[in-house]
Assembly symmetry: C2
Homo-oligomer: 383 residues x 2
């Protein structure tokens, strides 16, 4: 159910013919109100795709009534004609639903630099409007998949209201959003400003700390639609907590499905001088190809962890760093400590803990290992 | 010949027994004067190995008479005992040569986090002192190899003086020095301050722009010894130019021998607002695993180039970027232009040109592709 679990949402997923595979490739999510509050965060990449350029304008007034998403083509670096395609898709959705195009967010994913066939998209939109259903969440979640091996969906139930979410993404997962499209729906009564604060708080500790391969996408979009259909107004804290659970759950699903990965690695930095520095240190380790290749090889190579920490300007004493892998403190005081042979890296889940001894802030950054399959998938598949 | 090509230098390379392979693993380079001017640059990594901590003190007065280098162990993150080992090695060299230990630079490379066997090192030093020869450069260059498949050596001849160099390094090649040890010798008369300026100018456009895998080492050291034995004082400009040729030549040798690489990629950024911004943009592309995997797959994926540029804060218009690969302008004005099928990526050498249209500065950054062999070597080999 996911995005159609909350009251007052309909969705659909259809085959517009954009994907060579012939699978579903166009999804539509519609809020039936009574309210149309929304919040959205976009990729921090300065080279943004056309749907992002369009949707940035759409979301400014905090009102969004529909989100249309296609896989099979990112509509990125396709110039004025590509922007017109995005605009035409929004207009087609608006016409089908009897709403304004300025309330329609557009998302695209797939190959960069190729023009999307406008005719197929517009015909697909018509079909998607016709297929809208109160139980269409699963169809929509499948229609946005690219190299994803599974669809990503979640529902968090609260007292009389709920939040549903769906996500797409399996690589190019990096800070300030992974490569991913996320639509989140809720029937809670939440105004746009509250939704915006809650979304930024939630993404800051979830999607923003996912760094699968250090590459930042051009199309990332996370949109929350709040229609108030439950009639219940949660406290901002309750809403933020539930939304954070939704975002974290989806982020972990993205991590677990990252292209070709053998391991999910959580890097937790303790006792940093600030949360920003904890994130900086965690991210430096998450981006070390040498460390990531070592994890693939089941080698608890803490030296590569220290070498990565040393590239940051966070506060710490280079001669007094502690590092644990899966609970074994292989390095204390920047020297060998417990026997690395005790570290078992056969399971997919790997926990790295770093003690900076510089303060009381902490953060966790998630990444994947660097595998043959990652190289294969990203050398053979254009994206 | 390399480092023993200039007059007044002796060198040797011997087997101290540090390497499992039983190959040569200890090198010694000695300046016989009459002058002992020197300049050195070290890794920018804050977590430095013990030999770097020692050598930083040694080079402060601009006088260096010998450099001793071992492979088979980096002596990094080995604490006070490791530092004492470095000190003992310097003392042993000093005693053997009848000089002061404070004029002996020590370099180590190999596994991180393992203590080097001091007895073997000290016995090896004695053997290396005994083996010093005026034609020992080649032996020394071989003794510092780790995963290197070939030794790296160069000689640049000038009018009556010359510069020789040797290098070690085959991965963990990143900014502010690759993982590498470099010794450069010259019989030109150059004072320490001039040598320092020349070395910083030379490394800034050579080693500092080599970014094979984004990982910065803990042991990097580049030392220049100038003994004035030719009696000739070149102009600073002539010396800097010759030294830059030496450093660039060695950098290209390192690039070509990077672990598991199939391609050497030169990323040239044109018309940047500043040289720093040109380097920043080039480095962002050099660090994109997605782009590097695409080159391995012979896929001229310019979309991944733009996506990387967009992560920087350099001056440019995201809607007006041009990108060429091997001379084919596959992207103009941030849109598809010439047919990517025209780009032939079968040769090892790949040239990427980016036009930022924001000024008149330029820079080239060098990297390698991301291959199965890289993953294999760095998952199977601890370093």
């Amino acid at each position: 159910m996911s995005i159609t679990a909350p009251k007052g949402f309909r969705a659909s997923g259809v085959t517009a013919g954009l994907k060579d595979s012939g699978g579903k490739d166009l999804a539509l999510v519609v809020s039936d109100g009574p309210e149309y509050a929304s919040a959205t965060v976009f990729t921090a990449n300065r080279c943004k795709a056309n749907p992002v350029l369009w949707s940035q304008e759409v979301v400014k007034d905090g009102v969004v009534r529909a989100v249309v998403l296609n896989s099979g083509g990112a509509n990125c670096y396709t110039g004025a004609e590509g922007f017109q395609t995005t605009h035409a898709v929004a207009e087609q959705v608006a016409q089908g639903l009897g709403i304004g195009a300025v309330d329609v967010v557009v998302c695209s994913t797939g190959l960069i630099g190729l023009k999307n066939p406008r005719d197929k998209l517009l015909a697909g939109v018509d079909e998607a409007v016709g297929a809208l259903a109160a139980d269409g969440g699963d169809d929509a979640a499948h229609a946005i998949m690219t190299t994803d091996s599974v669809s990503k969906q979640v529902v968090v139930e609260a007292s009389g209201w709920s939040i549903g979410g769906m996500a797409k993404g399996a690589g190019m997962l990096a800070p300030q959003l992974a490569t991913m499209l996320v639509v989140i729906t809720t029937d809670a009564k939440v105004d746009a400003a509250t939704a915006d604060r809650a979304l930024r708080a939630a993404t800051r500790v979830s999607f923003d700390r996912l760094d699968s391969d250090g590459c930042m996408s051009t199309n990332d979009t996370v949109t929350v639609l709040a229609n108030g259909a439950s009639g219940i107004t949660p406290t901002e804290q309750d809403f933020t907590e539930a939304l954070t659970r939704v975002c974290t759950d989806l982020a972990m699903q993205l991590l677990a499905d990252a292209e070709g990965a053998d391991h999910e690695i959580a890097i937790t930095v303790l006792n940093a001088a600030s949360e920003d520095e904890a994130v900086q240190v965690g991210r430096s380790v998450a981006r070390s190809n040498l460390f990531k290749a070592a994890v693939f090889g089941k080698d608890p190579n803490w030296g590569r962890v220290l070498a990565s920490i040393g590239t940051t300007d966070a506060a710490f004493d280079p001669a007094d760093l502690d590092v644990a892998m899966n609970g074994v403190w292989v390095c204390r005081g920047s020297e060998p400590s417990e026997d690395p042979a005790k570290v078992d890296l056969t399971a997919r889940e790997v926990n790295v803990t770093i003690d900076l001894k510089a303060g009381d802030a902490r953060a966790t950054v998630w990444t994947n290992d660097l595998t043959h399959a990652y190289v294969h998938e990203n050398s053979a598949y254009s994206s």
